[in-house]
């Protein structure tokens, strides 16, 4: 006889029994041990039919193919650059994927990307051994010049971006900052006015802190309007 031991949308900790019996299926963030389904992360439960999934609330970034991330060059190898991705695994940027320029044999690779440079890149492949391949070829993928880099919990990134980018474009509009949000929780900002840049940082930190509370968009809009003293027009699109 199968039994569900948890409810939908409940916070669970690693090791908690979620269900018993073979009628339920372990989804992402859970595993089966004998008859039991046990959680492996701190997260929110989602029960979809027979499958039990967990939406993680904490933990490091897990690389996924197609994600746009911001990484930092930490090593230069013979055939390219090694990139710190803020996850448990490092990425490899091959010379062929880095630039369309011709790179002569034995060239000094720091001319293209130096140690400590931040780059916007896209994950092209993640192997079963978690080796990450990234590319710099694509719209908006480049080396970041100037500005500042902040780090947030990568699980809050969807809330910072908002539905179809609504949240981040609202911050951009209100503060006149350039903002790039990497899926790995690394965010790059640059603003003409240092006060506005700081406001953008504060707003992002506020979103990170209050991501789980209802009515986030309205609250952030009010906050930005209060801080900047301007009215913000938002095309809310479909909600």
């Amino acid at each position: 006889m199968s039994k569900l031991l948890t409810k939908d949308k409940e916070v669970v900790v690693p090791g908690e029994h979620l269900a018993e019996g073979m009628d339920y299926l372990p989804g992402a963030g859970t595993y089966r041990e004998g008859e039991k389904i046990i959680s492996s992360v701190l997260g929110l439960t989602r029960i979809e039919g027979r499958a039990i999934k967990l939406i993680p609330l904490s933990g490091k970034y897990l690389p996924k193919r197609g994600d746009m991330i911001i990484g930092r060059v930490f090593e230069i190898a013979f055939s390219g650059w090694r990139i710190d991705t803020e996850s448990a695994y490092q990425a490899m940027l091959n010379m062929r994927e880095a630039t369309s320029d011709f790179i002569p044999k034995g060239a000094n690779l720091t001319k293209y990307f130096d140690f400590g440079d931040y780059i916007v890149c896209k994950i092209t492949n993640v192997t079963s051994q978690n080796l990450i391949d990234i590319t710099m070829k694509g719209p908006g993928l480049r080396k970041l010049k100037g500005g500042r880099v902040i780090k947030v919990n990568c699980h809050k990134v969807p809330r910072i971006i908002g539905k179809k980018g609504s949240m981040v474009s609202m911050i951009k509009k209100a503060t006149d900052c350039k903002i790039i949000v990497g899926q790995n929780g690394v965010i790059w900002l640059q603003g003409e006015d240092p006060k506005m840049e700081l406001l953008a940082v504060k707003t992002i930190k506020k979103i990170e802190k209050e991501a789980h509370i209802n009515g986030l968009t309205d609250r952030i809009k009010k906050y930005l309007e209060k801080e900047t003293g301007k009215k913000i027009e938002t095309d809310r699109g479909e909600q």
């Binding site: 400590g116 440079d117 931040y118 006060k195 700081l198």
Partner: protein, 258 residues
């Protein structure tokens, strides 16, 4: 390595703002000091400025005095940079940064003669009290120098002697009302130079890109007690006197929090 960050910080400083929105010579607020943080220590304090948290404890013990100062007590300061406070710190014996912090704190207290060492004498040439200060950052978000010195002083202020019986055995479980005779209130302020700008109370990002820093310790009468210069760049005479002026002023501000 941090060229981009450095340029950004200098650009902001040219506009008179810092990375976190403070003015160049503004300390983080509030300065939060909690006394009596540890039950087992004779005196302890936890100091929080911004996100940096440091705890300090004072241990009192009796020992034989050093031969060159038979009537004076001993002072020892030890700082340990735990990996819990900053991912860049390693376990193991104290590294060069930890040694520098403990030496700078030690020098501030010792050279200002904050503690009356003669009063720590129990029996001339035989037995004196030794004061051991342990400093432990719980979170390093910059400026460990000043906050360590402040926490050490706060812990000294909080120190009470333990009870001793006639044979001289110390009963650490019971404290007396007698506190250390603290004549001076020595705090220190580190002034950092980035480009042409001088700042106080740097955060982690700023500490990575400073050219030079100078720690200035003063007592409550604005007497200069100790100084320590760090960083790669040299300083001009003019810069040093500017730094000292800033340091003296900021020390008075910090002292108010005690």
């Amino acid at each position: 390595m941090n060229e981009e960050l450095r340029n950004h910080i200098i650009n902001l400083l040219n506009k008179g703002v810092r990375l976190d929105g403070r003015k160049p010579l503004e300390y983080r607020k509030p300065v939060d000091i909690k006394y009596d943080f540890s039950k087992s220590a004779e005196g302890s304090a936890r100091v929080q400025i911004g996100e940096t948290v440091v705890i300090a404890g004072v241990k009192l013990a009796t020992q034989e005095p050093y031969p060159d100062s038979p009537e004076e007590g001993c002072l020892m300061v030890n700082a340990e940079l735990l990996p819990i406070s900053n991912p860049e710190f390693e376990t193991g014996p104290p590294g060069i940064d930890a040694i520098e912090i403990s030496r700078v704190v030690d020098r501030g207290i010792r050279e200002s003669k904050a503690i009356d060492m003669k009063k720590l004498c129990v029996e001339k040439g035989e037995k004196v009290w030794s004061v051991m200060i342990d400093i432990c950052p719980l979170n390093d978000a910059g400026n460990l120098f000043d906050i360590s010195a402040l926490s050490a002083l706060a812990a000294l202020k909080n120190t009470k002697f333990p009870k001793t019986d006639k044979e001289g055995t110390i009963d650490y479980k019971n404290k007396t009302d007698k506190s250390l005779s603290l004549d001076k209130q020595t705090v220190s302020v580190t002034v950092c130079k980035i480009g042409d700008h001088l700042i106080v109370d740097p955060i982690t990002e700023e500490e990575k890109v400073i050219d030079a820093r100078m720690t200035i310790a003063t007592d409550q009468n604005q007497n200069l007690c100790a100084m320590q210069k760090g960083g790669d760049s040299p300083l001009t005479e003019e810069e040093i006197s500017k730094m000292v002026d800033i340091g003296v002023k900021k020390c008075d501000e910090l002292r108010k929090a005690l």
